[in-house]
Symmetry: C2
Subunit: 352 residues, 2 copies
């Protein structure tokens, strides 16, 4: 199956074990629409298929897109859709779409184009660590290449036009996924989130809007796309991320110095449960693996590598788990398979 | 300290490892009052001291009470009162009393006399396992011996008179402590408790009235003291206990057969947390140790002896822990000491 080319690829460069893992990944997303068509929400099926065909044709001409995997929603199983969602390649909204909608992924190059979601094009570049600048460069180049093939809806006054006014202008959203367990343990995330929202920065959970921060993972992104340059948006975002990293590092030092027992308890329990549980929900797995990840970064857990945890954070998600065991499982069977998988991986490591 | 004689004694015969541990202990309690005095609630300090002195004098004449330890409330520290409470030798109400109130314990013989709680005398016999008959025999003999020294408040119509009408008549309460983890895991305790309450049987938690069943421990006792003979009360209670034991055994078989993964998960998590946690509240310790106790009885945990768990169930209580570490600890220091104690004891066993 072509989808395997996407799944077998880590999706983003793996962060070397020697580097800090606080910044998990950077993502740049650009919203674009074609001048010749209504926004997707106003199109009927034929119209959406037209857009889809037009864009497939345009992309065919772009050398950077030669290694593409085409995933039309109408041809995917529910599990395949969930797999793409868990890889952050399609949105929850896209999962409900049919003909004329889909995603085109270039897994080896870390970018994808979601077609006919809220806008005709949602171009996304994903990279590990804090790499917004290079992601923006790559997105810009791709954007130019597409624009050379198809005319965009653009206003000299407003900039790029989008279905939702919050994306008008640059159409750019820069978001960074951060692992902030120490700030959560020190109960300092709430005021930070409130403060950032006042300056137009959204902090969301692992799975986007209105999701809680399972696994202590937070997505930090700009809310405003209008009135600032692409570089301005990116540099503000990078600056905020660097401040959050600093806060998290401070919180880690304070945890070690002032709340050592609480920290050891948190790490010990996580390890104890992951090694001994026989049922593990996806959310609990995320939270406990997050604790081990913190322990590894603090060098309090030395028998495990962070890359093993990062892989498990992905593989323990429902669709990935389902695919791995290649059978149709009920939720409690998944919980059992998840517990077995985690136990095996982390105790294998223990024996290293 | 004389109190150590009480604490160093297990309090009840230890159940042999080969016997079922579902019935933890049996307790017979008799309420009596002296004809010559008002009930304790109507006495002033001088009156209570009179009762206390009268009873101390009476007991001095009884050979079975020769090995007594006298614990006047006014001479005990808060920690000592809590220790006696955790041993089920005084009630929470008694802890608040002062001069003229206290408990006289004969630890080697498993009985005690609480003086000037709700009644002048609360005679209690405690034994391991299901031994209500022998406990009643022992209580009767002691009761007769005391009555030979001091005249009781007795009505030929009502029987023994007590401060609270619910104790009038025989003044007898027979209660049995049961460990019913399988019924809790199978979610079958609630209807059982409701059913028993309709036939005048109270089911309470580890620490008596209005306490939840921490550690899956339940106290089953008669509500009615009037209108039935002592033997009738005891035999009804024993019959109900035997039925509950049967229910628990059935639930254990069904857990093993139908909910094996849930059971293994429950046991695994308990072991994982107890071995790895650095902070453990008294309630969490009770619940997790209860899981290990079940695992041992089901022979799913073979590296631990039940007696180790039973000892920990007692030693992890706040006052016992405080005494063991012989220092004034804050709650979080206790939680840390508790986690260390449990870890040490259960991993020592693992290494056996």
């Amino acid at each position: 199956m072509e989808l395997d080319r996407i799944l077998n690829h880590p999706g983003a460069r793996v962060i070397p074990e020697t580097e800090s893992g606080i910044v998990v990944s950077s993502r740049v997303r650009v919203a674009r629409n074609l001048r010749a068509f209504s926004f997707p929400g106003w199109l009927d099926v034929d119209g959406r298929v037209d857009v889809w065909q037009t864009l497939l044709g345009a992309i065919q001409e772009i050398p950077a897109c030669s290694e593409r995997v085409i995933c039309p929603m109408s041809e995917l199983t529910e599990m395949e859709k969930h797999l793409l969602f868990e890889r952050h390649l399609i949105s929850r909204e896209m999962m409900a779409r049919g003909e004329g909608c889909g995603v085109i992924v270039c897994p080896e190059d870390g970018f994808s184009l979601m077609i006919n979601e809220e806008d005709h094009i949602r171009l996304q570049v994903l990279d590990a660590g804090l790499n917004l600048q290079s992601a923006l460069k790559q997105a810009d180049a791709l954007d130019d290449a597409i624009e050379a093939q198809a005319e965009y809806a653009f206003s000299s006054k407003w900039g790029y036009l989008t279905s939702c006014p919050t994306n008008v202008g640059t159409g750019l959203r820069a978001s960074v996924m951060l692992h902030l367990p120490a700030l959560v343990l020190m109960q300092e995330m709430r005021p930070i989130i409130n403060g950032l929202s006042k300056i137009g920065i959204a902090v969301r959970g692992l799975w986007g809007e209105n999701t809680e921060a399972a696994g202590h993972m937070f997505q930090v992104s700009n809310q405003v796309t209008l009135g600032d340059s692409e570089e301005g948006i990116i540099s503000q975002n990078e600056q905020i991320v660097q401040e959050l990293v600093q806060h998290e590092e401070n919180a880690r030092i304070r945890l070690l110095e002032e709340k050592n027992v609480l920290l050891q308890d948190h790490l010990g329990r996580a390890g104890g449960i992951l090694e001994k549980a026989h049922l593990l929900s996806s959310k609990e797995a995320l939270n406990l693996l997050s604790a081990l990840r913190l322990g590894i970064e603090l060098k309090l857990i030395t028998h495990l590598r962070r890359s093993v945890i990062d892989e498990l954070l992905l593989l323990t998600q429902p669709a990935h788990l389902q695919k791995m065991f290649a059978s149709d499982m009920k939720p409690d069977e998944r919980d059992q398979a998840r517990a077995e998988l985690v136990k095996k991986r982390i105790t294998q490591q223990t024996g290293d």
